[in-house]
């Protein structure tokens, strides 16, 4: 009889994530870190951008909704940065990853580099992003268990975001002359950057071979376009064009992002080691 015999009842794998990280080949680890960084930065920047609506959204109920969606996205970013911290194992924790980088080191998609804008801009940007995020989440395979487990949980929350944005697209599209015009203008302005969420990753092939991704981001983009068309086409709204320039689509950020960076790093920069 072992010392742990009678009192051991259910085995919690003591550190499943550390085991999973150890099992990664070095090239896969690097490719996974790139994927996690893009996912985390997308969630983080979109969450922070829309948290700016708290207190000034056009309706009280919407103030609650957009604040809750933003809080979800920041929470998702935190969980993704935690996974990234485990993969990088370079001593940085989720706070260091979220706050201790220079603006040019963030890898969010250019779609999310646009300023908050008016309500139609926000609805258009968030709608394009939420559907793109879903297409990306459904491209994650089961090979890296900690990420697959998290994705399963994220999708249960994200579907409420999509449901909400679908309702708003419909409402603005059928809402009369001005709401519709503003929504169309926003979709036209954001359109060229919409597909930047699917900017190919350097390690994409490695991730597919490892079973961490089940399809290329180009294939995910095609699924996203099909999904978008079921909403936009019946409403007579413009589909985003195919991006012509994706070279620096996750680098070289806008002035509005640099302003936002100043906002979200202000506390951290004023007190070394400040945490969430």
């Amino acid at each position: 009889m072992s010392g742990t015999g009678p009192s051991t009842v259910a085995i919690a794998n003591l550190n499943p994530e550390a085991d999973a990280v150890r099992a990664l080949a070095p090239g896969t680890r690097e490719a996974l870190a790139e994927l996690l960084l893009t996912m985390a930065d997308d969630e983080f920047v979109s969450g922070f951008t829309d948290s700016e609506w708290t207190g000034i959204a056009p309706l009280l109920e919407e103030d609650v909704a957009i604040s809750s969606i933003s809080q979800d996205e920041l929470g998702h970013a935190r969980a993704l940065y935690q996974l990234l911290a485990g993969v990088l194992a370079d001593g940085r924790d989720q706070d260091a990853l979220a706050y201790d980088r220079e603006p040019h080191e963030y890898r969010h998609a250019r779609l999310l580099d646009h300023p908050r804008g008016d309500w139609a801009d926000t609805i258009a940007r968030r709608f394009l992003y939420e559907l793109a995020d879903e297409a990306r989440l459904t491209s994650i395979g089961g090979a890296y268990r900690p990420l697959a487990d998290l994705v399963e949980k994220l999708r249960r929350e994200e579907r409420y975001h999509r449901m909400h944005l679908l309702a708003w697209i419909d409402r603005l599209a059928r809402g009369g002359e001005e709401p519709r015009r503003r929504l169309e203008e926003a979709l036209v302005a954001l359109g060229p950057d919409a597909s930047t969420v699917f900017t190919p990753l350097a390690g994409e092939r490695v991730l597919i071979d490892a079973g961490i991704l089940t399809r290329t981001l180009g294939e995910a983009e095609a699924a996203w376009r099909a999904d978008l068309s079921t909403v936009l086409v019946p409403l007579g709204l413009p589909m985003p064009p195919h991006a012509s320039d994706t070279e620096d689509a996750r680098r070289g950020h806008s002035d509005s992002f640099r302003w936002l960076w100043g906002e979200f790093t202000a506390v951290r920069r004023s007190e070394d080691g400040a945490t969430w």
Binding site: T4, G5, S7, T8, D149, E152, K153, E157, Y160, M163
Partner: protein, 174 residues
């Protein structure tokens, strides 16, 4: 050292049952009437000779109360006299279906409508006109409408009762 019987403390044997009983006294910080056990937030419990490992399942990924709950679990189990480790885990995705019948009753008693069962695989949407009606926690009326999927915390929605004219919160099914 070989132990033939479960270790004992002032609380009695250190087994999963005693630990669950202790955890059942840890309240949800946002709805103190309900315990984290009743909410289904406890996954595996592993009792070792020198430590206790508890798997904590977050209700929502970004739940801001999570650190508070983790610390409350550590504090509550400290009296067993062993190291306590709390692992926050997504290996089993928490769902509103994990809330126990006692937990559902306590939610209702606190003015929160318990969540309708989820229907996995049914896809979008989870909440809306097509769903089973949600009873008002105050008057029991089924004439209630969803006002806002999103509420004051990530796990809650806002509904309105057409009979007693009372707004109330319900758990967002996930």
């Amino acid at each position: 050292m070989v132990m033939a019987a479960p270790h004992t403390t002032s609380l009695g044997p250190v087994g999963p049952r005693a630990i669950m009983a202790a955890l059942d006294q840890v309240a949800d910080p946002e709805i103190p009437a309900v315990s984290i056990v009743e909410l289904g937030m406890i996954g595996c419990i592993d009792v070792e000779p020198d430590r206790i490992v508890v798997e904590l399942l977050p209700t929502f990924v970004g739940c801001p109360a999570l650190e508070m709950i983790r610390d409350a679990v550590s504090d509550r189990l400290a009296e067993f006299g062993r190291e306590v480790r709390v692992d926050i885990s997504f290996a089993t995705p928490w769902s509103t279906d994990r809330i126990s019948p006692a937990g559902r009753e306590k939610l209702r008693g606190s003015g929160f409508a318990p969540p309708p069962p989820t229907r996995p695989g049914r896809g979008l949407p989870m909440l809306g006109a097509a769903e089973a009606p949600v009873a008002c926690p105050y008057c029991g009326s089924l004439r209630t409408t969803l006002e806002n999927v999103f509420g004051p915390t990530q796990c809650r929605s806002i509904r309105h009762c057409a009979d007693c004219r009372q707004p109330f919160e319900s758990f967002k099914p996930v």
